[in-house]
């Protein structure tokens, strides 16, 4: 069995291509079933986000990769990348850990991977191999998030504004937000603050009509821009983006407001040029003014902080990947070990019975002792070879050598594998779990 990853992301194709390939949620199930219908494909998962469209599949051989690539359509073929086995696994781990994202460390991708897995589960295209790989990949992603600072610090202007507001005011519940003007970024920030729990959003504009329209869009309450001094007394956060062409919040105005508000802290976010808030306002106690340059600087700091953590995150991903691969190889070694054990047990049991037949007059306890002795000899003889075979994990020549030395080739592999896992033999029609990266 081979793990294949076929697809493209923002790194390989521009948005114009990606938007043509994106699969709407309602079509995911049918696409997954189509993929599983391709020759040799056993399992499939489709990850379709605004930055990537990728198929993760378990197939009988690499040949299925071509069919999977074709399934993406002609547009994708010149951009898409085909990854196999270890490379495909590494990619899955890196994607889940947000190391392959446009904004490294963003939190959404892990949820999207889980969602894609749930869709594949519902469509019946998720099997044991992909499930195991996904479980380990999400585990690695969680380790990356908790053990590094890759997800710390917002990197978009609106989320930085919200983060700073939290830093200044703590919980935003019961806080009042004033939106001055109608700038797009300001609206976005206001919405984020509202969804972060702000009690009220007051929308002020030059004309009442514009304020009302904007209030409807943002779920706020329209107020007149003429009430600005009163608004500054009331607000905890003010987002300024008027097209005034000059400062609308002056130091004098803010000084009066500060006294009236008994020096409660206020956060002023100025998202316009020329600036709406006089720069000297930031010198006042308990008044914090952040303009576009300041927010950009914080974004750059946070990006640098995340970038500095990438190496550490890659190390974690690599550790997890190595551990997962070792586990897979161990599973690959299981058939030889199982056959070896079954063969040795059969020989010991036969010899014990033959001995018991020759020794007449032994009571039950004595017979049990003879059988236990035979089993103990097998255990002791097989202990070292078993440990070596497990350590080698099916990669080297020892597995083949053991099979040849003990004459194990003729025994059915799957039956031995079941024996190792303590299962009853079953017909091939029941299906079995086959190691993902087994040596051919």
């Amino acid at each position: 069995m081979t793990l294949i990853c076929v697809g493209l992301s923002h790194k390989q194709a521009p948005i114009a291509i990606r938007e043509r390939l994106a699969v709407p949620p309602e079509q995911i199930a049918s696409r997954l079933r189509e993929l599983k219908g391709l020759a040799g494909v056993r399992e499939a998962m489709l990850l379709s986000t605004c930055n990537r469209i990728e198929i993760f599949a378990v197939a009988e051989s690499r040949v299925a990769g071509e069919d999977l690539l074709e399934s993406l359509g002609a547009v994708a073929s010149s951009h898409a990348i085909c990854r196999f086995e270890e490379e495909a696994l590494r990619h899955l781990f890196r994607v889940a850990a947000s190391l392959d994202s446009m904004v490294v460390g963003e939190a959404q991708i892990l949820g999207q991977v889980k969602e894609a897995a749930a869709q594949a589960q519902q469509a019946g295209t998720l099997g044991p191999e992909l499930s195991r790989a996904l479980a380990r990949a999400t585990g690695a992603a969680k380790r990356v998030r908790t053990e590094t600072e890759i997800a710390r610090g917002a990197v978009s202007i609106s989320s930085i504004a919200v983060q700073l507001a939290h830093k200044l005011l703590g919980s935003l519940e019961d806080r009042s937000v004033v939106l001055l003007g109608a700038g797009e970024m300001a609206q976005l920030a206001a919405r984020e603050l509202r969804s972060a729990g702000a009690r009220e959003l007051l929308v002020a504009n030059r004309t009442p009509q514009a304020a009302e329209a904007l209030a409807r869009e943002t779920g706020g309450v329209p107020v007149s821009l003429g009430e600005l001094p009163a608004l500054l007394e009331r607000a905890d956060v003010a987002i300024c983006s008027t097209a005034a062409g000059q400062a609308v919040v002056t130091r004098e105005m803010m000084q009066r407001a500060a006294k009236a508000r008994r020096y409660r802290p206020i956060f002023l976010v100025d998202l316009t040029l020329p600036r709406n808030v006089e720069p000297s306002v930031n010198e006042m106690e308990n008044v914090y003014v952040y303009d576009m340059d300041d927010l950009e600087r914080v974004a750059a700091q946070n990006r640098d902080l995340r970038a500095a953590q990438v190496g550490k995150a890659e190390e974690i991903v690599e550790q997890e990947l190595r551990a997962f691969l070792a586990r897979l190889r161990e599973r690959a070694a299981v058939p030889v070990l199982a056959r070896l054990r079954a063969h040795a047990d059969a020989v010991a049991s036969a010899e014990a019975e033959r001995t018991l037949a020759a020794l007449e007059g032994l009571d039950d306890k004595q017979q049990k002792t003879v059988r236990a002795m035979a089993a103990a000899i097998v255990n002791k003889l097989l202990h070292a070879p078993t440990a070596r075979l497990r350590a080698e994990a099916g990669e080297g020549p020892l597995g083949d050598a053991a099979a040849a030395l003990f004459g194990l080739e003729a025994e059915p592999e799957q039956a031995a594998e079941r024996a190792e896992e303590g299962q009853r033999p079953a017909s091939a029609a029941e299906g079995s779990v086959v190691p993902l990266l087994r040596r051919s």
């Binding site: 600072e149 610090g153 939290h166 008994r262 409660r264 930031n282 106690e285």
Partner: protein, 275 residues
């Protein structure tokens, strides 16, 4: 026995301080958890040591056990207990990184002061008022030490926010509003206990020396600290003062209070009475 327990508590505080300081560099939840557990274990052992000590003293409230060094020891225990309550309420591991080393620093004088040198006057050894005085002083100082820690945290955090230079620690700092609110509450509690300590201290002083307010550095600094905290609370209630200026006042007030303890350690004979 009590001394061994105090040593164990000191080790636990030091290990807790190490865990919190490591957390500052490597923000793993388990480090903060380890710090909390170590401080909790330390404070329990520490109070057990006081229990043993009182049991050994076996004299009513056990006041005969009071010595100069023990006040510092009690102060450390109460500060840690106060921090743990604060952390339970507001989740402030970053404050732990300041408080735990502070506790260790306070415990050291407790070991340096020779009991014999600072033994209190025999006529005071069973005085209830001395017991109340020492208890109030320890509680007040612990609350104000915590307020001081938060004030420093506030000033650092506020400077970063104001100057838009958000350092590596910024993400781990609590909100300014929370630090300000918690610091002010602690300052109020500290003021209440400090008032009690000064009032009862004057009675102790009168019993020991005949002077209600002897002119000694210890008493002078205590009165200055009290006046500063009284002004701070007045300014907050009347004019709404908050933030940086309140943090500066808390720092100044606590430094005056430290002066009181320097006065205590410098050998002023306030509690030695006529013996």
């Amino acid at each position: 026995m009590a001394t061994v327990l105090v040593h164990i508590a000191l080790l636990a505080y030091a290990a807790g301080a190490a865990a919190f300081l490591t957390w500052l560099v490597k923000p793993q939840t388990r480090l903060a958890r380890a710090g909390r557990i170590l401080l909790l274990a330390g404070v329990l052992v520490h109070f057990a040591a006081f229990g043993v000590s009182l049991g050994v003293a076996g004299a009513g409230l056990g006041v005969s056990a009071w010595k100069g060094g023990q006040l510092f020891s009690l102060l450390a225990a109460v500060t840690v207990a106060g921090y743990l309550i604060l952390d339970f309420r507001y989740e402030l591991p970053v404050a732990g990184a300041f408080i735990a080393p502070f506790t260790v620093a306070v415990m050291v004088p407790a070991h340096l002061v020779h009991s014999a040198d600072r033994a209190i006057a025999p006529e005071l050894s069973h005085s209830l008022i001395l017991f109340v005085h020492v208890g109030a002083a320890a509680l007040g100082t612990a609350a104000l030490a915590l307020a001081f820690g938060l004030a420093i945290l506030y000033l650092v955090s506020e400077r970063q926010m104001k100057h838009k230079q958000l350092g590596k620690l910024f993400a781990r700092l609590p909100s300014l509003e929370l630090i300000d609110r918690a610091g002010y509450r602690l300052a109020v509690w500290g003021f209440v206990f400090l008032s009690m300590a000064i009032a009862t201290g004057s009675l102790v002083s009168r019993e020991a020396t005949g002077a209600t307010f002897p002119l000694a550095p210890k008493q002078g600094f205590a009165i200055l600290a009290w006046a500063l905290f009284a002004s701070l609370i007045q300014a907050r209630l009347v004019a709404g003062w908050r933030g940086r200026r309140v943090a500066f006042l808390v720092v100044a007030g606590f430094l005056f209070l430290v002066g009181t303890y320097v006065g205590l350690l410098s050998g002023a004979p306030a509690l030695q009475g006529t013996a």
